[in-house]
C-alpha cells in the first residue's frame, strides 16, 4: 500500500511510467513512454502541441487509461488511474486556466468541497478553522496575502499559489504545472519559480510544462522532450539548453531569428502623444510607429501596455492626448473608427475578443468588412469563401475547409484567422497584443514571418509581448513601459534581457562599460 511516506527511500522514484502507450483512432498519442520522477525533482516537459503532453497529463490525472504499460506510484503498480485515485496517490494539477472561484476567498477555494463543518442542525462551515488551516500552507509558499482575501483581488501568480496551496493541503507529492507562466508577467514568473524551488526543497516533485523555454531552463533539474508521442530527448541539468530543446521539439533548428526590415525605418505612420488611459489617468504616454518597422512594447503586466493598445484601437476612451495617423489627427471613439482608418488590433484574448469560435472561418474573416462581401445589403457567401480560400493559402491556415468552425482549429491557426481578417483590409497600423501566447513553436515562427512580411509591405507594427525571447528576437526597436509611462526606448544595439527588465521595473540602464 501507499504508506511509505515517512520511510527514507531516496532511490525509489515517486512516479515510474513504463512503456505507456495510448492510441486514438488513427493516431498514436503516446508510443511506449517511459518516465521516472524522483521525490523533489523538477521535470521540465516540453513538446509542440500534439506531441502527447496532454495525453500524458490525462493519464496521470486519471481522465483516460493507457492501452498498455504500467504506472507505478510510490512502488504500487496501476494499469490505469481514476480521477480520485490519482488525487489519493498524491498527484495534483495546476492548470493553465485556473479553476478558482473568484467570488470566494482564498481559504474557501483551498477547501472547496471539503470545508470543515461546525456540526449541529445547520452544519455551518467553520470559517475560522478553515482560515487557520490554510495559513501554514500559505506561509510555506511565501505568500503575502491572507486566507480571507477574495481571490478576485489576487494577481495571477498569487492565484496560482492558491492552487498550489490546495495541492499542498491534500498532501500532494507530485504537482503538475501546465503552462503556469504563459499568462504571467515577468516579475511574477520569478515568484512562481521560487515557489517551485520551495516545493522541491520539501521533497515534492514537480512536472513543469511550458512553451517558455527560458523558464524551463531555469527551473528544471531534467528536461524531457516529446515529439509525436515519443520521448525524443532527455536532458540532464547541465545539458539543458534552449536551442537543443527547440531542435529536439521540432526535429530541426529554429530560432526566433531576427529578420532585418527590407525597407528600413519609414515615415511616422501613427503618433500618440500625451495619452492618458483609465489605468494611469495622471500619466502621459506616447509613442511613434514608423512604416516598415516592428516596435516591441515590453513591460510588466499592469504597466499600461494593453490599455494603450485599447485606446489606439478605440475600444477604451481617450482621456487626454492626441493620436495622429499620417500626420492627420484622428478621433477614435470606437473600434469602428479605428478599423475604418486601417488601425487594427490582434487582441490578447483571442477566444474572447479575437474571433467568434462558433462561426466558420470564412465568416470570421469577412466580419469587419462585411459590406464588401454584400450586394444591396445582402451577404454573398460565395464572395466570403473566395476571400477565405485566398487567406487560407496566403497564411497557411490548416483547416479542412474554409467553412470549418473556427473553434475547432488549433490556437496557432485561430490566430491566423484573426490576422486574416485584418490582412484582407489593407492595414496601415497593426497592433499585436501577446501574439503568440499559447501557440506552439512552429506556429510562432510563422506568425513572426507574417509580421515581418507586413512590416516589409509598409505596415507599422506594434507588438506587445511579455515573452522576452520574442521581444528581443522580433522587434526592430523596443519601447518599455513602466507604471503608465514609456521608461525607455532601445535600439537593436542595446537589446538585452537585462536592459528590458531594468526599464520594466523602472530602473535606469547601466552605463555601458
Amino acid at each position: 500500500m501507499l504508506d511509505s511516506r515517512d520511510q527514507e527511500a531516496p532511490a525509489r522514484p515517486f512516479l515510474k511510467l513504463s512503456a505507456v502507450r495510448k492510441t486514438y483512432p488513427g493516431v498514436v498519442a503516446l508510443a511506449g513512454f517511459d518516465m521516472l520522477v524522483g521525490p523533489g525533482e523538477v521535470i521540465g516537459l516540453v513538446g509542440e502541441n500534439g506531441a502527447g503532453k496532454s495525453t500524458l497529463m490525462k493519464i496521470l490525472g486519471g481522465v483516460t487509461a493507457p492501452d498498455s504499460g504500467t504506472i507505478e506510484i510510490d512502488g504500487a503498480p496501476y494499469a490505469g488511474l481514476s480521477v480520485g485515485g490519482s488525487m489519493k496517490a498524491g498527484i495534483a494539477f495546476v492548470h493553465q486556466e485556473l479553476n478558482l472561484f473568484d467570488n470566494l476567498d482564498v481559504a474557501a477555494n483551498v477547501y472547496i468541497g471539503r470545508e470543515p463543518r461546525r456540526g449541529g442542525v445547520l452544519n455551518l462551515v467553520d470559517e475560522k478553522q478553515m482560515r487557520a488551516d490554510v495559513l501554514p500552507y500559505l506561509k510555506r509558499l511565501g505568500a503575502n496575502f491572507a486566507p480571507n482575501t477574495p481571490v478576485a483581488k489576487l494577481s495571477l501568480a498569487q492565484q496560482q499559489m492558491v492552487e498550489i496551496a490546495k495541492a499542498l493541503s491534500v498532501n500532494a507529492r507530485l504537482v503538475i504545472l501546465d503552462e503556469p507562466t504563459s499568462s504571467l508577467p515577468l516579475a511574477e514568473t520569478d515568484k512562481l519559480l521560487e515557489v517551485i524551488a520551495g516545493l522541491k526543497a520539501e521533497g515534492i516533485a514537480v512536472i513543469f510544462i511550458s512553451h517558455r523555454l527560458h523558464e524551463i531552463e531555469r527551473a528544471s533539474d531534467r528536461v524531457l522532450v516529446l515529439r509525436d508521442g515519443v520521448l525524443v530527448g532527455e536532458l540532464a541539468k547541465a545539458e539543458i539548453d534552449h536551442d537543443r530543446m527547440v531542435k529536439l521539439m521540432i526535429g530541426r533548428d529554429l530560432k526566433v531569428a531576427y529578420a532585418a526590415p527590407k525597407l528600413g525605418k519609414g515615415e511616422v505612420v501613427l503618433a500618440a502623444r500625451g495619452i492618458r488611459t483609465a489605468a494611469y489617468p495622471t500619466r502621459d504616454v506616447g509613442l511613434e510607429l514608423h512604416a516598415g518597422e516592428i516596435l516591441g512594447l515590453a513591460g510588466l503586466v499592469g504597466s499600461g501596455r494593453t490599455e494603450l493598445a485599447r485606446v489606439l484601437f478605440g475600444v477604451d476612451p481617450l482621456y487626454a492626448g492626441t493620436v495622429t495617423l499620417n500626420g492627420e489627427p484622428v478621433t477614435l471613439r470606437n473600434a469602428s473608427d479605428a478599423v475604418e482608418r486601417g488601425i487594427f488590433l490582434v487582441p490578447e484574448d483571442r477566444k474572447g475578443e479575437g474571433i467568434l469560435l462558433d462561426l466558420p472561418i470564412s465568416e470570421n474573416i469577412s466580419l469587419p468588412d462585411l459590406d464588401a462581401y454584400a450586394r444591396s445589403g445582402l451577404v454573398v457567401p460565395a464572395l466570403e469563401r473566395v476571400q477565405a480560400e485566398q487567406s487560407r493559402a496566403e497564411l497557411g491556415i490548416k483547416a479542412p475547409t474554409v467553412t470549418t468552425r473556427t473553434g475547432s482549429l488549433s490556437g496557432g491557426n485561430q490566430q491566423k484567422v484573426v490576422l486574416a481578417k485584418w490582412l484582407a483590409m489593407q492595414p496601415k497600423v497593426l497592433i499585436f497584443d501577446e501574439p503568440t501566447r499559447g501557440i506552439d513553436v512552429g506556429a510562432k515562427a510563422e506568425i513572426y514571418r507574417l509580421m515581418r512580411g507586413l512590416a516589409d509591405a509598409g505596415v507599422a507594427v506594434l507588438m506587445i509581448s511579455s515573452d522576452m525571447e520574442e521581444v528581443i528576437g522580433v522587434s526592430d526597436r523596443i519601447a518599455v513601459m513602466h507604471e503608465g509611462r514609456i521608461s525607455g526606448l532601445l535600439g537593436r544595439a542595446e537589446f538585452s534581457e537585462e536592459n528590458v527588465l531594468r526599464l520594466a521595473v523602472g530602473k535606469p540602464l547601466r552605463q555601458a562599460g
Binding site: 473600434a335 467568434l356 462585411l370 445589403g377
Partner: protein
C-alpha cells in the same frame, strides 16, 4: 428550413390532425380564419422578440406596450377624433421611441435588458391604466369602424393580419438571415466583445434590434386594438411578452443569443395558437390553458435537447468505430 423547423412543423400537423379527429370544427373555415388571425397578431411581435433574443437580450414590456399603445390609438381615433392615419403614425412613432429608449438604456448606460424591460412592463401598464383612470377605452361607433374596417377585414377568407405577417416575415427573413445587419446580430449574440473588436458598432446594432421589436409590437398593438374593439388597460396584452418568448424558444432560439430563425419563431407562434385553440375545441377547462401551454413547451424543449445530445453521442460513437480521424490534442 432546418431539421428543427421540420420537427416543429410535424408536431403542428400531428396535433392538428388529432384535434381534427376529436372535433372536425378545427378545420372549419370560421375556426381556421380566427386562429390564423391570432397567429398573424402574435406572430408580428414574436418576430420582434426574436430580433432582440438573437442579440442575447429580452423584451419583457411587449404586453404592456400593446395595452398602452392600444389605449392611445383607440382614444385618439375614438374620443379625440384624430384621423386614423395620423393616430396610426403617432402610435408607431411612440412605439419606435420606446424601443429606442430601451436600446439606449441597455447599450449606452449598460443596464441589463431584463431590468430595463421589466421596468417598461410595469411603467407602461401603469400609464395605460392611469391614462383612462382604469376605464375601458372604446370606439363610440359601436362595432363599425368607418375607414378602419380593413384592419379586421378578410381578403379571400384570409384575415388581413395574416397578409401583414407574411410581408413582415419575408422582410424579417432577409434581414436576419441574409443581410449584413442580420449577420451582425448573430455575431453579437455569439460574442459581443469579439464583434466589437471586429469594428462592428455593437451599440447601434443592439439598439436597432430593440427599435425593430418595439416597432413590430406597436403595429401588433393597433391590430389588437382593432381586433378587441375596445381596450381594457388592465388586461389587454397581459402575458403577451411571454407568448412571444415561448414562441421563440419553441422555434429554436437560444436565450443566450446567437441562435434562432424567423421560420422557427413563426412555427412556434402557430403551435402556441393551435394549443390555445385545442383547449377550446376539446372542451378542456379554459382555466387549464396556461398549464397545457407550459407543459408542451417544457416537453418540446426537453425532447429537442435530449435528441441533440443523443445524436451527438451517436455521431462520436460512429466516428470512433468507423472513421480514422486524427485527433488533434487539445491545448
Amino acid at each position: 428550413m432546418n431539421k428543427k423547423d421540420l420537427g416543429l412543423l410535424a408536431l403542428i400537423v400531428v396535433v392538428g390532425f388529432v384535434v381534427y379527429l376529436r372535433n372536425p370544427a378545427f378545420l372549419g373555415p370560421q375556426n381556421l380564419a380566427n386562429t390564423a388571425n391570432l397567429i398573424g397578431l402574435f406572430g408580428l411581435f414574436a418576430i420582434g422578440q426574436g430580433f432582440v433574443i438573437i442579440t442575447g437580450g429580452i423584451e419583457l414590456s411587449a404586453g404592456s406596450m400593446i395595452a398602452l399603445l392600444g389605449v392611445l390609438f383607440v382614444d385618439l381615433v375614438g374620443a379625440k377624433g384624430v384621423p386614423w392615419p395620423i393616430a396610426f403614425a403617432i402610435v408607431m412613432v411612440l412605439g419606435l421611441a420606446l424601443g429606442l429608449a430601451h436600446g439606449l438604456l441597455i447599450t449606452k448606460l449598460k443596464m441589463q435588458p431584463f431590468v430595463v424591460t421589466l421596468c417598461g412592463l410595469l411603467i407602461y401598464r401603469g400609464v395605460a391604466r392611469g391614462y383612462t383612470a382604469d376605464a375601458t377605452a372604446g370606439f363610440p361607433f359601436g362595432s363599425e369602424y368607418p375607414g378602419l374596417d380593413f384592419f379586421v377585414a378578410r381578403i379571400g377568407g384570409i384575415p388581413v393580419s395574416v397578409y401583414v405577417l407574411a410581408v413582415v416575415a419575408v422582410i424579417a427573413w432577409f434581414t436576419l438571415h441574409r443581410s449584413v445587419f442580420g449577420r451582425y446580430l448573430f455575431a453579437i449574440g455569439k460574442n459581443e466583445e469579439a464583434a466589437r473588436f471586429s469594428g462592428i458598432r455593437t451599440d447601434v446594432v443592439v439598439t436597432s434590434a430593440y427599435v425593430i421589436c418595439a416597432g413590430l409590437t406597436a403595429l401588433a398593438a393597433i391590430f389588437f386594438a382593432m381586433y378587441t374593439r375596445s381596450v381594457q388597460p388592465s388586461s389587454q396584452g397581459n402575458f403577451y411578452e411571454l407568448y412571444a418568448i415561448a414562441a421563440a424558444v419553441l422555434g429554436g432560439f437560444s436565450l443566450r443569443g446567437g441562435e434562432g430563425s424567423i421560420v422557427g419563431v413563426i412555427l412556434g407562434t402557430i403551435l402556441l395558437q393551435e394549443l390555445q385553440n385545442l383547449v377550446n375545441l376539446l372542451g378542456i377547462p379554459s382555466s387549464l390553458n396556461f398549464a397545457v401551454m407550459g407543459g408542451v413547451i417544457l416537453i418540446g424543449v426537453l425532447v429537442d435537447q435530449q435528441w441533440g445530445v443523443f445524436r451527438a453521442r451517436r455521431r462520436i460513437a460512429e466516428a470512433a468505430s468507423v472513421r480514422e480521424e486524427r485527433i488533434v490534442s487539445s491545448e
